[in-house]
């Protein structure tokens, strides 16, 4: 399992062993690992003393938690009101078609995860899409396509380089 240099035990011990810290723990696990694995959930629940069922109840109630690994790149399309009025939904539909997945899913090759988000507060620049942490103001289907193609190319080049090394 990828761990970005953070050991799960180190995360588990960050907070006191009380039920109120369950959400804190799950958030930290998610930001280090990208999702909450069954093992990590068990550890978090053991630490905070809540039943496993309640751990999953929390993880499935809140939208920010994922129980499956996400793709290499995350695409988030804002569907706040301003973005909706300016065609955010059309961007989602186009990406769904292009990547052959539905919003919330990850491509089979684990390259991209497509998510929607309810307003990121950048309404002046609507519609907004965020690829990894890069904002794309006044996004169009064409601009996003270009960006994804560029990402594919740089990743392929990196891979090639890594292969040579």
């Amino acid at each position: 399992m990828e761990n970005f240099g953070v050991q799960i035990d180190e995360i588990i011990e960050r907070y006191p062993d009380k039920p109120e810290y369950l959400i804190f723990l799950l958030q930290d696990i998610q930001s280090s690992y990208g999702y909450i694995s069954p093992e990590a959930m068990q550890l978090a629940c053991d630490r905070t003393g809540v039943p496993l069922t309640q751990g999953y109840s929390v993880a499935t109630f809140y939208q920010s938690f994922r129980l499956d690994p996400s793709g290499e790149h995350e695409i988030r399309v804002c569907l706040g009101t301003a973005c909706h009025l300016k065609g955010g939904q059309r961007l989602v539909e186009d990406l769904e078609r292009r990547l052959n997945i539905k919003a919330g899913e990850t491509t089979a090759d684990m390259r991209y995860t497509l998510n929607t988000v309810n307003c990121v507060g950048a309404c002046a620049l609507s519609p907004v899409a965020i690829i990894d942490d890069e904002y794309h103001p006044n996004a169009t289907a064409r601009k996003l396509e270009k960006r994804l193609n560029a990402l594919d190319q740089t990743d392929a080049a990196d891979e090639k380089e890594a292969g040579h090394a």
Binding site: E20, Q54, S64, H84, G87, R90, N118, A124
Partner: protein
């Protein structure tokens, strides 16, 4: 100079009294030359998204390499939101106050040379008054800013939110010092009552009365009592609280500490939406700095009063903006609300008396205490005192954050401050109050924007989202959008919300396909009323508002959908067709290349044709056509 060895920024000193706070402030002011040359770059969410971090970096690099020939090396300051987000990235040059808009890294060299070295303005980056065409040099002369009155946003865009000395220089924590040293907790509560402040989060309940009820609950049940900041700003299209937390985190914190003093709370919580990482970071920095200066934590300003707070990051649930759901979320559980007859001031967080106020409400507290309730309640109108911050978005020229006295006519906000709808058209409606609010049509444009007038018009103040719509926006689609949003966000605990909203959305779905009857519109209305009466919490009870107000004001548009099978705004996909105007089409083939289903045919330099049977109505051809030849009918 006495104490000059104390570096203000790097070595915090625990302040022991109000006098020491004043002395520190005097020292900061004395150390800083008011005429110092400063480049202020907006780092609000909007400007950051349009690339302002690259602009401030370009300034740093340019100044370093140029070895600037100005008398003093200019400082570079990054601040919170300046408000005029649609013109970002924004840069202000002090002390002249020159206001540059849409600044790109490539413009930086010219600004350094022309403005910082030669002292001249770069005209092409200045704002131009759209009515007169005249150049506008400073922020205050831009119509967008002229009509505003900044109480909550007093420091936002002016100070560096990560540097407490900026806050202290601007008068931060003076209200806290005043409360702790010259007022009893009872006097603080009385002052808030007298100010007429009402909750800025949605319902507009009197803040003073809320605090007063908490005091009587404490009398019955004893302490502990908790104070909580609701920073779970979930309404789509609203970013007021985001801007306050990002741009002036100490204002929120100071308000909270004053509230804690008034109620005798030792612990507080700031519940902040997960989608606002910058707000969370700035609040964390602010709290650490306040603790280091003795303004938060044990024995604040040596007054004997101790209070500390912690941040809870939201985890992505709109319903957690509802008070009781927010409490259960802080307790580490799924955010399910509970029935309203149990009052939060008596039985809130951990079952204890709790005062929960919205970010903007808390940020109003310090100026009320510092300047007095009599000053505050002169702003605005009776029953809606003070100012309100709005995020003005949608089909309006000046998209951004505005703060105005309560009671200003809606048209002033949209047309004067917002600069009207692009292309000079009148607006069709303004949606206020987010998913719980309603649409106010153009003919009610003189409605004063205050709590009671908005409710009378069928909408509500809400948290301050203001979405301007024009004739290319479909009200059925907007109503469906909000319902769909709330259907997804419904926690599922009570039936009226869980099933009722789904059924309402299904009816609207069929309207958008041109299926339905006048009877269905009537059924939709009666279902909406049943949900208003029966839902457990405010999320469900107010969910039907966007539908009810659009039916009330735009019935003919609903009828056009169900009777004529037509979407007048050209939005509802199943009721529109795309076609190419042969007179405008140049045959450039761009649309044909981009069509995802290859349904556009035609030879080069010949007008193209769309095959309506195969067309997905994805709109990519319209978006890609430079000649406006793709039409919707």
């Amino acid at each position: 100079m006495h104490n000059s060895a104390i570096a203000v920024k790097t070595e915090p000193v625990r302040l022991q009294s109000a006098e020491e706070l004043n002395a520190l402030r005097d020292r900061i002011i004395a150390e800083r030359d008011p005429q110092r040359l400063e480049v202020v770059v907006c780092h609000g969410t909007g400007c950051l998204a349009s690339g302002s971090a690259k602009v401030s970096q370009a300034f740093r690099d340019a100044l370093e390499t140029a070895g600037i020939q100005a008398k003093v090396m200019p400082g570079i300051k990054t601040t919170g939101c300046h408000g005029l987000c649609s013109r970002g990235p924004l840069v202000v040059i002090r002390p002249q106050g020159l206001f540059y808009q849409r600044v790109q890294p490539k413009d930086v060299a010219e600004i350094v040379q022309r403005t910082l070295i030669e002292g001249q303005a770069v005209d092409r980056l200045l704002y131009r008054n759209p009515d007169t065409g005249d150049l506008v040099f400073t922020q205050d002369d831009i119509p967008f800013y002229k009509l505003q009155e900044r109480v909550v946003l007093r420091n936002v865009g002016k100070i560096d939110p990560t540097d407490i000395s900026d806050t202290i220089e601007a008068g931060g924590y003076q209200a806290l010092a005043k409360a702790l040293t010259t007022m009893t907790p009872e006097q603080v509560v009385a002052e808030i009552e007298k100010s007429g402040l009402r909750g800025r989060g949605g319902a507009g309940f009197s803040t003073g009365r809320k605090w007063r009820s908490a005091l009587s609950a404490i009398k019955k049940k004893g302490r502990p009592v908790y104070v909580v900041v609701n920073g779970d700003e979930g309404d789509p299209g609203a970013f007021m609280d985001c801007a306050v937390m990002e741009g002036d985190p100490h204002a929120v914190l100071e308000g909270l500490i004053i509230g804690a003093y008034a109620l005798g709370a030792e612990n507080g919580y700031l519940y902040v939406r997960a989608e606002y990482p910058l707000a969370i970071r700035h609040l964390e920095i602010a709290m650490a700095q306040a603790r280091a200066y003795g303004l938060l934590g044990e024995n604040i300003l040596n007054s004997g009063f101790s209070f500390d707070a912690r941040i809870n990051r939201g985890a992505g649930a709109f319903v957690c903006g509802e008070s009781t759901a927010l409490f259960t979320s802080i307790e580490g559980k799924p955010g399910n609300p509970r029935p309203k007859y149990i009052r939060s001031v008596e039985e809130g967080l951990w079952g204890r008396p709790t005062v929960l106020n919205n970010v903007e409400t808390w940020a109003n507290v310090p100026p009320i205490i510092a300047r007095g309730a009599d000053w505050y309640n002169q702003i605005g109108v009776p029953h809606s005192t003070g100012t309100k911050v709005f995020s003005l978005v949608g089909k309006v020229n000046n998209v951004g954050l505005v703060e105005v006295p309560m009671g200003l006519p809606l048209s002033t906000l949209v047309e004067k401050i917002g600069g009207g709808v692009p292309n000079g058209k009148p607006f069709k409606a303004v949606q206020t109050g987010g998913p719980s609010g309603g649409c106010i049509p153009y003919h009610l444009k003189d409605t004063p924007v205050d709590y009671d007038s908005l409710v009378a018009a069928g909408s509500m103040m809400g948290s301050g989202g203001m979405i301007v719509m024009d004739d290319s926006d479909c009200v059925v689609d907007v109503a469906r959008y909000f319902l769909h949003f709330l259907e997804e966000e419904s926690c599922g605990k009570c039936l009226p919300c869980r099933l009722g909203l789904t059924r309402m959305r299904e009816i609207l779905d069929s309207f958008s396909k041109g299926v339905g009857s006048e009877q269905d519109i009537a059924d939709l209305t009666s279902l909406a009323q049943a949900i208003q009466d029966g839902a457990l919490c405010a999320l469900g009870a107010s969910a039907p508002n966007p539908v009810l107000t659009t039916i009330r004001y735009f019935k003919e548009e609903y009828l056009a959908h169900v009777q004529d099978h037509r979407c007048p705004a050209g939005v509802c996909k199943d009721l529109i067709t795309y076609a190419i105007d042969p007179a405008l089409c140049t045959g450039c083939m761009t649309c044909a290349r981009q069509c995802p289903v290859q349904c556009i045919s035609g030879k080069k330099k010949q007008p193209h044709v769309i095959d309506a049977e195969k067309c997905l109505r994805c709109g990519i051809c319209k978006e890609s056509c430079k000649f406006g030849a793709v039409l919707i009918s």
